[in-house]
Symmetry: C2
């Protein structure tokens, strides 16, 4: 496979740049959490790059892209590889562009941080908090390890979205600097609606070298788990809690019994097996109001309150955001390797009816409910990351089709392309920008169907298979 590209020529052109070619290391840096999906696990397990380039600066990024462009070598950018859809995996081999060394926090002002793409989210907050009592508005459950560039390039929201909405929402990402993949790479600054050209584009049409992101006020967040005997009551409470505009919350999720007891192992002693659990993070100064509000709900119990426990009882417990979003999936997977998951939107205002109908349709053995409440277009509703007992890929497809038929859009986490994981249609803005910024199609090949196959029929019911992967499979 390495024979495909002139790697020696690449190295010769980049004498000052750190290039790794140890195959074990390259393979490790060519992977993400794609194995959450049994299908992606089958499809992508053999994917690896040829080398890893580790730039220390934007100037080195430019050098690398210039050399790669000249030699026709694909470049797939990567933060820390915490994604779940193979978005940072080099389907055509070539260069894995590891941006982890570019991790400086460059500027902190009221409401805004400017950072290099490799900066880890939690580490950014460790600077913004003491600087001016500010923090990143939202983060994935991989807060401790995910980079800001990877989050913008492949994420959608997470912890904090109950207050601020998602990354796609105006005002959350303020501006991006991107380097183009051309003979003479350009550095562009994108702000306003231009951000959408490269946000959530998996690095297919530009390499993000700087992110300016909105900050919110930083507080001490208190973790709580609220228990209910009835799932519908738990969901109604979570939604109503989210609708309290004056209550500063950072996370509201519902996980159906018995998942919390069975898989939140370090919190297990707090959680009766028959209790559906609402995961809540609330600011210290909002705790009284949150408890008063909770007291209005019949049947609400609070089996876990971080502020009411002694330090020795808290020792070893993960923060509750590491029970939420895809950490819920991770914990369930660890407890039972046959588990996989979906990503569902239950649109406002029918979220409860939809959740109820869908879960009644499948039964709690095959699909277990996990709801993440968010602000979405100005209203509270929920995404679902239901846990699915995997049997066959066909059945998984069928479960997703039934969701869509019943009115709940699926963001398919069992696909590596932007389109199949998203809106099942061409993103004309991203495609147009790729034509401009990556004319040879060398950035993260295979992830944007619209580039490789402009006539692809998303309604065909088939799965897109990137020719590069097909060729590899044929050669294997």
């Amino acid at each position: 496979m390495t024979a495909r590209y002139d790697i020696d020529g690449l190295k010769a052109r980049l004498p000052g740049v750190r290039i790794e070619d140890n195959p074990a290391l390259v393979r490790q840096k060519s992977r993400d959490f794609f194995w959450y999906s049994p299908r992606l696990k089958r499809e992508l397990d053999g994917v690896t790059g040829d080398v890893v380039a580790v730039p220390a600066s934007e100037a080195e990024v430019i050098e690398i892209l210039k050399a790669a462009y000249a030699l026709g070598i694909p470049v797939t950018p990567r933060g820390t590889g915490t994604g779940n859809y193979g978005q940072a995996m080099p389907l055509s081999g070539g260069i894995v562009l590891d941006l982890s060394r570019m991790n400086a926090v460059k500027e902190i002002t009221p409401g805004k941080v400017v950072a290099e793409p490799g900066a880890i989210l939690a580490k950014i907050d460790r600077q913004t908090r003491p600087h001016s009592g500010q923090e990143i508005r939202m983060h994935p459950s991989t807060y401790a390890t995910a980079s800001i560039g990877g989050f913008v390039a492949g994420g959608s929201g997470g912890v904090g979205s109950i207050r601020w909405g998602g990354l796609r929402d105006a005002g959350n990402v303020i501006s991006l600097k991107v380097v183009t993949m051309e003979e003479s790479p350009r550095v562009l600054t994108l702000a306003g609606d231009d951000i959408h050209k490269v946000s959530h584009a998996y690095g297919t049409n530009g390499i993000i070298t700087e992110v300016a992101m909105a900050l919110g006020p930083a507080y001490d967040w208190i973790d709580l788990l609220v228990g209910f005997a009835d799932f519908g009551a738990a969901a109604a409470y979570a939604n109503a809690l989210g609708e309290q505009d004056g209550l500063l919350l950072k996370e509201v999720a519902v996980v159906a019994a018995p998942v919390p007891h069975d898989t939140f192992l370090r919190h297990q002693r707090f959680l009766p097996r028959d209790r559906h659990v609402v995961i809540v993070m609330v600011a210290t100064h909002a705790l009284d109001a949150m408890l008063a509000f909770t007291g209005r709900f019949r049947g609400a119990e609070i089996p876990f309150r971080q502020d009411a426990l002694a330090p020795e009882d808290l020792r070893g417990l993960p923060p509750v955001y590491e029970l939420a979003w895809n950490h819920t999936t991770l914990r369930a997977l660890r407890a039972d390797p046959a588990i996989t998951y979906l990503q569902v939107l239950y649109p406002f205002p029918d979220q409860f009816a939809l959740v109820e109908r869908l879960h009644a349709r499948f039964g709690a053995d095959e699909v277990k409910a996990h709801l993440e409440f968010v602000r979405f277009d100005g209203k509270i509703t929920c995404f679902g990351l239901p846990l699915v007992r995997f049997t066959t890929e066909d059945r998984l497809e069928e479960i997703m089709r039934i969701h869509e038929d019943m009115g709940a859009p699926i963001f398919n986490p069992h696909r590596y392309t932007l389109e199949e994981g998203g809106m099942k249609q061409t993103d004309a803005v991203q495609l147009a920008f790729k034509r401009e910024a990556d004319p040879r199609g060398l950035l993260n090949p295979g992830k944007m169907i619209a580039w490789d196959d402009p006539d692809y029929d998303y309604a065909s019911g088939k799965t897109y298979l990137f020719p590069g992967l097909a060729a590899r499979d044929a050669a294997a």
Copy 2:
């Protein structure tokens, strides 16, 4: 009238307390902005207290209440008198309790300020901003002059409610200290749902001596006026802007043409007479995103942008929040003394249809639209403070009845009682607390119908007339 109460005895019992009895001063301190309403102007113009007591501390409040209780003298608390419904006017005379000297900011912590009731909102922010980059989450348009105690006792929300909801929402007021009106006054701290016992109760059931309120992050807010030729387009834009969860806004209002041009005199040169105007305050770091979002709306013009003007062009211009809420009314009233107003809720999700139907019903000559967008139970909707060309009290009543019949609840600003200005029913929690905290009924008499006339029929279509006022009118 002074003969009713033993004022000399009161003074004798309070040798260390500042008591004012100059009739002109007492009359001045017995008034608020009740004259916005032609009806309240007629009913309340003669109201005055007997003396003004100006305590310097909670200990002096206790002394005053103890003495007043012993002598049977009513006590009506007052901040700076910026209310509009006579809420701080002493219908039975007696003591006006002027809390303006109790204006200390006692504590600032992340997300919270603790202040005495007389602290002016803008002055609080002048301490919280340099202290830790924080500010009061919401304020009335009388930010520069209103006190925090008066806001909590008589307000409902305002500038900032587009992000944080209203004062009634859990988490916005954190706790209150109140002194009871008993033989031996007690000092109680109310938190959680107990706050509702005395918030928005006009001081009828306890004297607030300390307010703990939530703070939000402080930013430099940029004032903008966005113009539209079409009113419906302006309202749709305002609502959609408010629904942008990631955009930090502090104010979104719509004022129908030609009111902005005709009454926002110092901004007049920016405002064509035929333009409906959306009043916006946006944080500096959200400006780009706000402008990009605005660019998606056909027909949106930005005739006024604070950040695009030179200092000499800004000189003398009031902040745009002083064009909004009841400052809109004030400016319209100044331009035309025949103008009065209503307070309307257009409930989600029918706000646009309701606004359109109501304004079509009355015509733009009699009722001019003024919409204030807010978060309300987790959704964006709008209140209305429409400007009404006043003809007769009967017609004003009819206009309000038509609103209610068409599905838009009225918070009647032409009544001085809590119930008639609010939900037209007894607030059992506030009534029960009054029984406990003011057993002789000496606090702000005449404002809580449920106390004076437990059997009052709110559906009668009549206006409640406080017996104390009726007696005064008979004697006059």
